[in-house]
Symmetry: C2
Subunit: 244 residues, 2 copies
Amino acid sequence: MIASSSPPTETTGCTSCVMRGLGLCAVLIGMGLEQPYAGGHAAIPQTRSTFAARRTIFHQNETLAGVPVICDGWATSTMKLSNGRRQILSILVPGELVTCRLLFERQLHLSIDAVTRGSYRTFGLAQLRAAMMVSPGIFDRLLSAYNGERNRADQLIADLGRRTATGRIARLLLDIWNRLEKSGEVEDGAIAFPLRQTHIADATGLTTVYVSKVINAFRHDRLIEFADRSLKILDIKKLRQMAA
Amino acid sequence: MIASSSPPTETTGCTSCVMRGLGLCAVLIGMGLEQPYAGGHAAIPQTRSTFAARRTIFHQNETLAGVPVICDGWATSTMKLSNGRRQILSILVPGELVTCRLLFERQLHLSIDAVTRGSYRTFGLAQLRAAMMVSPGIFDRLLSAYNGERNRADQLIADLGRRTATGRIARLLLDIWNRLEKSGEVEDGAIAFPLRQTHIADATGLTTVYVSKVINAFRHDRLIEFADRSLKILDIKKLRQMAA
DNA sequence: CGTAAAATTGAGCTGTCTCAATCAATGTGG
DNA sequence: CCACATTGATTGAGACAGCTCAATTTTACG
């Protein structure tokens, strides 16, 4: 899994990294911005930070100097309300950029919370923006990534406003499934799924109690298997129906 | 209100236009892109289309060649679900750009529905993108407009997921109030407010029946006056409390 | 002026929440 | 490596916010 010619710690997770998917490294190299580094991707920041499970990685209203990418582990971007409630805006799976908004705004207006332990790297704002300006390809890809974020946000609005609990949960599961499937992370018909029911509740605007009941109904109807931080979809057709 | 030296039909609404706010016209003129036109803004497209109340202006999945700006009248961007329900993603007041997403994607994935009668102009994609590339000012402003759209979407997600009906409605009213206040459209302590309760319901994920009850409760508590397509906030402090 | 759209009202229903108690899993320190 | 502490999941009973249905009135508009 890890190329023997390069240091393992530096390439972990990079195969599914968004930045790699964007072809960003190639462009940065083309710009002559690469730093001498044996066996790794030239544009990858040397500093990698780790985070513990259930910790807040970046706080609401914190100011960042770059765009972090989650190398390893899962996280959420969460909005914390004055009444103490919280709403998850998006689930960040390994390899994902935290949010493209940071390309144009230094201040984070929501908090990034770790689900599992993991690590991230921060790409420099100036470097990324320069790459965008130099390469129309990068420009379009980053902006279409931004549009992708928007699409998901819009879907979530429709879910929360106009769909029932079972529909919301089914859609959340299918969404994550599809994302991981796309990057080839289905193994034995199952995906790693470290989200707790608390996360599902906060993402769907429901209660943990009620999430538990819906999930158990899904299990009972043999739509899914969900245990040990792993998710298997048994009847994707019927699950899609519930999500319609 | 209208400068006597320029044709009234062509300048209507332009004073509060986003494009004007962006300083876009000046930049386009500086680029030598202006078209000869007596008494108007050089960069404003000559073609202006009108729409009738309650009609769909652009359909979900339609492909557009430019970025429309609502000159006159109110509209909504709405997502139509397979189960026949609809969710309003944003309320477009006069002078607003439909969505910055169209700068980077030709396909609209939601529908734009007229609330009142009105008119719009479409700015050419190529022209806008060129202006973005030439002027860092325009670039940043358009992207921060995009970020603004995102912020509103995120707020809406939190509203729908974690706030009660009264909170959602209070926040909707306050949001629109603030936007119009910012562009100086409060007159005699009231704003024009052509939204029907159906729109409020579709924007807040509620039912018209229930919206009616909440609005009447607000009226009864003398928080707002709301009739004749006009809204007056009587007790903004208490209304903000409900929205907290 | 007539018809369509919007708002209101009431009665009853249900999806989801709250509260509370219990059990299972996970993580931590000695 | 065990014992304890914390976090997470489950279950049941009861409550309520917001929905549905349906009838009626009011308002808007061609």
